[in-house]
C-alpha cells in the first residue's frame, strides 16, 4: 500500500513548492506523511483535529473540501474516499488553481484502489 501511495503522490512530493503531503484517516490519524522541513511538524498535530471536523462536515454534506490561507502558505484538504483525506501545504507563490487540478487527478488515481 505504501508503494502505491508513494507512486501516486510522487508528482506532488517531488515539487519543491509543496512542503507537506499527508493522508489522514477519518478519525484524524495520519497514515502517510511526507514533509520537506521540520517546521511543518507542529502543523501535523493541528491537522489531526482539523481533519476530524472536516470529515464531519463532509459526511453531513456541508463541505466538499477545505482550504486554509496561512501567512506564507496555503493548505488544501480534500477527501479522496469516505474515510481518507488528502492534505497538502504549498508555498504562497504556488499556482493554487493548478494544484487543485492536480489534486483532482490524484483523487481519481486513488479511486482505483479505495
Amino acid at each position: 500500500m505504501k508503494e502505491i501511495i508513494e507512486r501516486i503522490l510522487k508528482p506532488v512530493t517531488l515539487d519543491e513548492n509543496i512542503l507537506f503531503v499527508g493522508i489522514y484517516r477519518i478519525d484524524g490519524a495520519p497514515i502517510y506523511v511526507h514533509f520537506k522541513n521540520k517546521q511543518v511538524i507542529s502543523l501535523i498535530d493541528w491537522l489531526e483535529s482539523q481533519v476530524r471536523v472536516l470529515i464531519n462536515y463532509i459526511a453531513s454534506g456541508y463541505f466538499k473540501d477545505a482550504e486554509f490561507r496561512m501567512t506564507d502558505s496555503h493548505l488544501l484538504l480534500s477527501p479522496i474516499s469516505k474515510t481518507l483525506v488528502l492534505t497538502m501545504l504549498a508555498v504562497e507563490d504556488t499556482s493554487i488553481y493548478k494544484l487543485r487540478i492536480d489534486v483532482e487527478s490524484i483523487k481519481s488515481e486513488f479511486e482505483k484502489y479505495v
Partner: protein
C-alpha cells in the same frame, strides 16, 4: 507513425529518466520529437533534446490531458516519423513575415513563437520610458504617436498573431499558431528550444509535406451578417457589453472613450494593479489573463476578436494582434461563459482528432472543474495560450477577423490528426 509519451514528474531528472524508460518501447524511428513541457522543465530543454536522435522542439505549456487524466506538472512528448521541414525565423515581425513569405511551406504548418518576449528588465524599462515620452505628444498628434508606439511594441516585444498567419493564408495552406504567452510571465520567457538550444525571440515553423488534418473552434456562436448582429451576439454571450470608441493603429491602443486605459477602467470601477509592470515581470507575478476585455469588430468579415485589458497603468496599451482591420467602435465586456463547461461539449463533440490544443484560460475559468473536459476529450491535449488558425476551408466563425484568418485571445482550440 506517431506516439505520445508523458511523465508526471515536475523535476527534470525524474521526468527525463521516466521518458527514457518509456522511449525504449517506441517501435519506430522518430524523425521529429516535440516536447510540451510545464513550468519548471522548460528551463532544462536541452536535457529533453538529448533523449532523442532526431530534431526536437521544446515549448512551454500550462498543462496537458492524457487518456487517463489532466495534469499541470510534468510533460507530454510527441514522436513522429512524418516528413517535415524545421525552420527558425528571427527578427522584427515585418522581417519574419517577409522571410516566411519567401520560404517553402508545407500543406500543413505549425508556428511556435513567443507572442510577447520581454528580454530583460532594462529593455522593458527603456521601452516604457520611450512610450511615456511619446505619449506627451498624444493630444497634438494621436495618429503619429500610435504609429510610433506600435513600431516600438512590434520591434521590441510582440509578434502580432494575424500578421504571423498571413504568409500561410496567402500561400493557401493550413497553419496552427502556437502564440505562446504563459499565464505567469517573467523576463527571458517564454522559452522555446530547437534541438536543446533556446530560440529567444524568433518563430519556429514546422512545415509538413502532407496535409495533416486539422481544425479549429472558437467555442462561440457564428458571427452575424452585419455589425449589429455580431454586437448583439457578443452582448448575449458576455457581461456588460458596453459599446466604446477606441483610438488605435497597428498594435497600439490609445484612448478609449477619450480616456487613457487606466482612467477608463477606473471609470468602470475596476481596480488597477498596485504593483508596477517591470517588478511583476521580475518576480513572476505578472498574470497574463484578465476577465475584462474589448471585442473588436472586423470591417473585412463582420467577425470579432477580443483583447484582454490588464490593469497596469500604461498610457498606450499593446494589442496582441493588428487592429487596422477593425472598426473604431468596440465592445467592452467581462468574461463569463453561460452554461459552464458543458457548453464547450457541443464544440468539441463533433471534432474527432487524436490531439488538441486548448486555451489555457480554461484553467482560470473552471479551475478543478476543467476535469469535466475529460468527458468529451478522449485524446491527448495541451493547454496553451489560445491557439489560432488559418485554413483553406471556409468557416463562418466569429473569430474570422480577416479572410481565412481565425484569431481570438480566449476560448479557442485547435485540433490535429497525427498520422
Amino acid at each position: 507513425m506517431f506516439k505520445f509519451l508523458y511523465s508526471l514528474y515536475p523535476k527534470t531528472r525524474e521526468a527525463v529518466q521516466d521518458l527514457k524508460r518509456k522511449l525504449e518501447d517506441v517501435k519506430f524511428k522518430p524523425s521529429l520529437a516535440v516536447f510540451f513541457l510545464t513550468e519548471e522543465l522548460i528551463k532544462n530543454a536541452e536535457k529533453f533534446a538529448d533523449l532523442v536522435r532526431c530534431n526536437s522542439v521544446c515549448m512551454p505549456i500550462e498543462g496537458y490531458i492524457t487518456p487517463e487524466s489532466i495534469w499541470t506538472r510534468g510533460c507530454l512528448a510527441l514522436l513522429s516519423d512524418v516528413e517535415y521541414r524545421l525552420q527558425v525565423f528571427r527578427g522584427t515581425p515585418d522581417e519574419v513575415v517577409d522571410k516566411m513569405g519567401r520560404s517553402k511551406k508545407g500543406k500543413f504548418n505549425i508556428l511556435m513563437y513567443p507572442l510577447l518576449y520581454p528580454k530583460s528588465r532594462l529593455q522593458v524599462l527603456k521601452g516604457m520610458i520611450r512610450l511615456k515620452r511619446l505619449y506627451g505628444k498624444y493630444e497634438s498628434d494621436p495618429e503619429y504617436v500610435l504609429e510610433k508606439a506600435s513600431e516600438i511594441y512590434q520591434n521590441e516585444l510582440i509578434y502580432p498573431i494575424n500578421k504571423m498567419l498571413r504568409p500561410f493564408r496567402d500561400a493557401g495552406v493550413d497553419a496552427v499558431s502556437f502564440n505562446i504567452f504563459p499565464l505567469r510571465m517573467k523576463y527571458g520567457h517564454p522559452i522555446i528550444a530547437v534541438n536543446g538550444r533556446k530560440v529567444g525571440r524568433g518563430v519556429v515553423v514546422l512545415s509538413f509535406r502532407e496535409r495533416i488534418p486539422s481544425d479549429y473552434t472558437d467555442t462561440l456562436p457564428e458571427r452575424g451578417r452585419n455589425f449589429e448582429e455580431t454586437k448583439e451576439i457578443i452582448r448575449q454571450e458576455f457581461m456588460i457589453g458596453k459599446e466604446v470608441k477606441v483610438e488605435k493603429k497597428g498594435i497600439a491602443l490609445g484612448h478609449i472613450d477619450g480616456m487613457k486605459l487606466s482612467e477608463f477602467l477606473e471609470a468602470e470601477r475596476i481596480t488597477l494593479a498596485k504593483r508596477d509592470l517591470s517588478s511583476d515581470l521580475q518576480d513572476k507575478k505578472f498574470l497574463s489573463a484578465s476577465p475584462y476585455a474589448l471585442y473588436f469588430l472586423s470591417r473585412d468579415t463582420m467577425g470579432a476578436s477580443s483583447l484582454g485589458l490588464l490593469s497596469y497603468p500604461i498610457e498606450i496599451y499593446p494589442s496582441l494582434f493588428e487592429l487596422d482591420v477593425f472598426m473604431e467602435n468596440a465592445v467592452f465586456f467581462a468574461e463569463i461563459i453561460r452554461g459552464g463547461i458543458n457548453l464547450l461539449k457541443n464544440y468539441f463533440d463533433e471534432k474527432d482528432f487524436n490531439f488538441c490544443a486548448i486555451d489555457q484560460n480554461m484553467f482560470l475559468m473552471y479551475e478543478e472543474k476543467v476535469h469535466r473536459l475529460k468527458d468529451f476529450i478522449e485524446s491527448y491535449a495541451i493547454f496553451t495560450s489560445y491557439p489560432n488558425y488559418t485554413t483553406t476551408k471556409g468557416k463562418h466563425m466569429m473569430s474570422e477577423i480577416e479572410k481565412k484568418i481565425y484569431v481570438n485571445l480566449t476560448r479557442t482550440a485547435a485540433f490535429i490528426e497525427w498520422i
